[in-house]
Symmetry: C2
Subunit: 339 residues, 2 copies
């Protein structure tokens, strides 16, 4: 069965130039998928023409007159731009015309709009942002990455459930292990919320293995790691900043030790392979989980390669129907209903 | 003038083997410093002998019968081990026999004991842990790194003052810029505490430049970055974990692309230089600021090189008399006194 994904063609720092290019690569790679480009027809059509492509049954266009700016306050985007490319793409998911949507636009506006249009699933207080990060052993699903700057213990429990479902359905982990991000592994460590969340997780039926420290993320100590959006966002962005710095240092050291020409020869394949393993591009495509629909957020600065990866994430999550898995996990079991 | 530093010779994963070796290197490098090794005389003496050294006017020994275990609860260490090497070293600072102390022991026990023995400076609610991290432009002082898992806005203001003093006195920054770690740079971003702290910092007289995101740490956007100890600890440890993972990936990629022998030849100097620039060892030596005395915490796993670096951090902070600078900054000015 063909799965259709709505792509906010106007979102991100590079607009249609990147989104159209990503769309074409994606369709070449995934013969069982089709796309709806959402946005202003003129720039999209002219970009299609420039890239020697045209609309087809697998690549349709749904017009939207407005564009949410990258720095626009979310509330303003939500109230003031009802015909934005972002909102129309989300509405296509709500109406069942697309199985998922992808946007590289303004994160706050995307969260506010998706939350408003799609609503949260029963049993979920607030959506969370989850992504896969590389580890020495494979990858880990970390959430929340910034949707909620203040979280209750109960929300952290919900994040753990949603993270486990994603790790199983998309990451292929059977009974994924879940850790709670903390400043130490002993019971006495942490703030009040983390301690309360640990108690909830111990009786959750999940494969909860306890606290994980910051270095446990990349050591691959667990399949899922849960934290509030304040900590998660800062940790993720600090990691991106560090990876960028290390890459720059490595290039400088190669040149210093090998000279510019030999460095280029030797370092290029190594740095490129390294990039494939830790580059945010490869891990682009964070999902807003907990909503009645699959919404994937791409980096604002994403190029066509990164955006294509975000489309693949959306495709996998739509194929697995993550929202439905979460809904079924949280609905009262028949036994409970009869009791 | 000779500055004397007390070294907890029993602390850390490697005990006297590492501490004695670090002490000897440090004394060779710093002719204006002397050391007091604190701990059980027998293992220290036998380690000195093994390394072909002996006690002298510049290398004295103060006995302490007990050792705080790395996993011992801080309260138990504080109440139950009054003659621990850690506590005796701190007491030497309180009594003016040493200008600073260094321990690679149990962090929680060191904080609790230092807090109890030395007390906080007037105007400081709680001590904080600060360290310098590498950035693309130089380095940044980040605090708190884990002393306080829950912080008030007022505490964050105090951290900003202390961080600025360290950045000036030790880092040589004139009027250091201060940022507040947050999930975005816009005013509306962040939790309640961060927003309240921003208001305090705007009228603090510090060179406060606003919010900094996680990637701003390594981009070197500011000289000082302030956060609560929960976020700071997780960010620091996640960075250490990521740097370790990247190093492993790089080694693997070198071998894959160049073969094992050539990789060793080419990669070794590059990886070593890279290590010098981002390795935690080089940045070893986190300071507990806000106390009536200089206390430097070394990594528990620190080897002699790392420990020697922690001793150098302690020497610089003692030379500058950081506690006195903080005291003077916080005491009411004459104008205020007269008003």
């Amino acid at each position: 069965m063909t799965i259709t994904i709505a792509l906010d063609a106007m979102g991100g720092d590079h607009g249609p130039r990147a989104t159209v290019s990503a769309a074409l690569s994606f369709l070449r790679a995934k013969s069982d998928a089709s796309l709806i480009l959402v946005g202003q027809p003129e720039p999209i059509q002219s970009e299609l023409k420039r890239q020697g492509a045209h609309l087809s049954e697998r690549l349709r266009l749904t017009p939207a007159t407005e564009v949410v700016r990258m720095d626009e306050p979310p509330a303003q985007a939500l109230r003031g731009k009802r015909d934005s490319s972002m909102r129309v793409a989300i509405t296509l998911v709500r109406d069942g015309e697309a199985a998922a949507c992808v946007s590289a636009g303004n994160t706050g506006a995307l969260m506010a709009t998706a939350h408003f249009v799609l609503k949260t699933l029963p049993g979920i207080d607030r959506p969370a942002i989850v992504t896969a990060l590389p580890t020495v052993r494979g990858h880990v699903y970390l959430l929340d990455l910034g949707a909620n700057v203040e979280c209750s213990a109960e929300q952290l429990r919900q994040f753990a459930i949603m993270g486990s479902i994603v790790a199983t359905a998309v990451g292929g982990k059977q009974r994924p292990s879940v850790g709670l991000l903390n400043v130490g592994v002993e019971d006495i460590k942490g703030n009040q919320t983390v301690k309360a969340a640990a108690q909830l997780l111990q009786v959750s039926g999940l494969n909860y293995i306890g606290y994980v420290e910051g270095d446990g993320i990349y050591a691959g100590e667990t399949d899922v790691i849960v934290c509030d959006g304040f900590v998660g966002n800062i940790t993720l962005k600090a990691s991106e900043g560090l990876a960028r710095m290390i890459r720059q240092f490595m290039k400088e050291e190669f040149q210093r030790h090998l000279g510019t020409r030999l460095a280029g020869l030797v370092a290029r394949p190594v740095l490129r392979a390294f990039g494939r393993r830790v580059d945010p591009k490869r891990y682009n495509g964070a999902t807003l989980v907990g909503l009645n629909g699959v919404v994937v957020k791409s980096h604002g600065s994403a190029d066509a390669v990164s955006l294509c990866n975000a489309l693949e994430v959306a495709l996998r999550e739509a194929q697995q129907n993550i929202p439905d898995l979460i809904r079924r996990e949280l609905e009262p079991s028949p036994q409970q209903g009869l009791a």
